[in-house]
């Protein structure tokens, strides 16, 4: 049997809670034993719009957290921005609704075997998977600092509970409505120059990931980023979600961000070429 999608299963998950937090919805699903296969960085693909919907493709969302509780069994939390018709539909699902999901999908953040100094950088709802990641890193003895940014305060997702797992948390908004005014990438250069961090984990808009990659380029800092490309299938069969990535052989390949990602090595992604194809294509 193939190794691709090897933990993935399709199931009807029940909405256990759906709460508005700022401009997002925090939605909790009952997914039973599937939580055991979910790792920080993985995502879920959700069927939207109900039975007779004209929307035929699933929508992808990062798994924010999973947990197991006595009363609900395994649960999975998503942080969803009501963006277009599909995500708005999801945000409108009441408690008790059943939703068709495929999970877990994609690569996970690599967890260091030894304690390291980790910087977690999240943009907008990109912070969602970082809190679960912080817990895992913390358990491994890592020092975990977090930077969150967004255009405005209502787009910062930073739950109280989540903050326990981080050593420090700093927030940046472009309009200054929360935390510092400015971009989340601003303090990173100093942190790198001062050799305060060994690895950066990032999740957020492609521009942010690209900017971080530029800062880590030529340094020893490892940059693991969760990319976000439009996906038609989420399971590797359609080839719509590709990114140019430098391979070990020094050649650029168009890799599928759904199965070779979403977590990728930021240093290998050819950011300047995203949305293009490499030279020399027939």
């Amino acid at each position: 049997m193939s190794q691709i999608n090897r933990s993935a299963a399709q199931l009807n998950a029940t909405v256990l809670a759906n709460k508005r937090i700022g401009q997002y919805h925090q939605i909790v699903f009952g997914i039973g034993d599937l939580v055991k296969s979910c790792r920080p960085g993985n995502f879920v693909a959700i069927k939207v719009g109900g039975e007779s919907s004209r929307m035929i493709l699933r929508r992808a969302f990062a798994i924010s957290r999973v947990s197991e509780s006595v009363s609900f069994g395994g649960t999975m939390e998503l942080i969803v921005a009501p963006h277009g018709t599909g995500s708005k539909w999801l945000c409108s699902q009441p408690e008790g609704a059943e939703v068709d999901i495929v999970a877990p999908l994609g690569t996970a953040f690599g967890i260091p075997t030894a304690p390291v100094n980790a910087l977690l950088v999240g943009g907008g709802y990109g912070s969602a998977p970082l809190f679960g990641l912080a817990e895992v890193l913390k358990a491994r003895g890592c020092k975990v600092d977090m930077l969150l940014g967004a255009s405005t305060g209502a787009k910062i997702y930073a739950p109280m509970e989540g903050k326990r797992a981080v050593n420090s948390l700093k927030i940046y908004t472009e309009d200054g409505t929360m935390g510092e005014t400015g971009r989340v990438t601003e303090p990173i250069k100093t942190l790198i120059d001062n050799r305060e961090i060994d690895v950066i984990y990032s999740c957020g808009p492609m521009g942010m990931l690209s900017a971080i990659s530029a800062l880590t380029a030529g340094t020893d800092v490892v940059h693991q980023c969760a990319v976000e490309e439009a996906m038609a299938c989420g399971i590797g069969i359609c080839m719509t979600c590709v990114l140019p990535v430098m391979g070990e052989d020094g050649k650029i390949a168009m890799l599928r961000s759904c199965i070779d990602g979403p977590v990728m090595d930021g240093g290998q992604v050819q950011w300047q070429m995203v949305g293009q194809v490499p030279e020399g294509t027939p």
Partner: protein, 324 residues
């Protein structure tokens, strides 16, 4: 009651014959993946056993490795989607060395789909495919731009279509059947179909995607990197049914592998009644990774419920002339 007429559920799971043939290739079931919608098969193996379906039709492969088109490569549209992948792939050599052996090891039936930019490239591809054992059929995707003729899509040009199939036929010999995959974006589909059959195609695959475009209202430019894209999914099912019906009426003895918007057993039956001997499931797998196997099960049960003694007796049944 004459053979091939549905009775009233007299046929049971045990006596029902679900098999089909395309040229001299035999398949246990008539439900296949669609080219480009199952990659090379591995990715779907987590969701069902590839041996259980009729065949895996692999993504159209070209002679050389290929990056494909720039992103965005997809846009969702009402009950459909546009894609512009541009035939990204590893090239035929790597494909035959790695992907095909894996499928054969899984005991999956394999239909290899090839695509070229010149008549010569198709022939080269056919020759390479011929050298590998265990392939059930060759699907020749001729909905590709012909670089030798102003990029005009082969399948839109009766003469170029014929020449591609003729070249493939002569290279591959008579061992495995040739399925010519046609585009619906033509004025006279039966004419193109007749041409490729005369040139040696054993079967026809209908339909490839319909040419479409979406304008992005933010950038106010074409949304796809490749500007135009291929429309697939339920939106085009009526076009697929019409194409299959038309071609089956014109060429009743040529088997058709039908596809286009099939997402349930009832949809598959519609294509079969119109004249398809087998049905490929494409876009439906994107929305539902188990679509292929679920559709196969639904079709099986539906054929029995309708009283057909076999899959074959349902093929083209909508064309029957007798009065009820």
């Amino acid at each position: 009651m004459a053979d091939g007429r549905p009775g009233s559920g007299r046929y049971t799971l045990n006596t029902f014959d679900f098999s089909t043939t395309l040229g001299n290739a035999f398949f246990n079931t008539p439900i296949f993946t669609a080219s480009g919608c199952a990659s090379s098969g591995k990715e779907l193996a987590q969701f069902f056993d590839l041996r259980d379906i009729g065949a895996v039709v692999t993504k159209s492969v070209m002679n050389k490795p290929r990056y494909g088109r720039p992103t965005p490569r997809m846009a969702e549209t009402p009950s459909g989607m546009l894609n512009s992948i541009g035939l990204q792939g590893p090239g035929i050599d790597a494909f035959l060395a790695k992907d095909v052996p894996w499928l054969i090891e899984q005991k999956s039936r394999v239909i290899v789909s090839i695509a070229g930019e010149t008549v010569e490239e198709y022939a080269t591809l056919a020759r390479k495919v011929r050298s590998v054992a265990g392939i059930s059929a060759l699907e020749v995707n001729i909905s590709c731009p012909n670089v030798e003729n102003r990029g005009l899509v082969f399948a839109c040009d009766p003469d170029a279509s014929r020449r591609v199939i003729d070249g493939v036929r002569r290279t591959i010999g008579g061992e495995i059947p040739i399925i010519a995959k046609l585009s619906p974006d033509v004025t006279n589909l039966p004419e193109i179909a007749r041409g490729v059959v005369d040139a040696g195609a054993d079967a026809l695959a209908l339909i490839n995607t319909v040419l479409g475009m979406v304008i992005n209202l933010d950038s106010m430019r074409p949304h796809l990197g490749g500007k135009t894209g291929g429309l697939s999914g339920p939106a085009i099912r009526p076009v697929a049914v019409r194409a299959i019906y038309q071609v089956h009426a014109a060429l009743p003895n040529v088997p058709i592998l039908g596809m286009g918007g099939v997402s349930s057993g009832r949809d598959a039956l519609e294509l079969i009644l119109a004249g398809a001997s087998g049905v490929s499931v494409g876009t439906a797998s994107f929305g539902n990774p188990s679509a292929v196997i679920q559709i196969q099960r639904e079709l099986h049960d539906l054929l029995i419920a309708k009283g057909f003694p076999s899959l074959k007796s349902a093929i083209g049944y909508a064309h029957r002339v007798e009065e009820e």
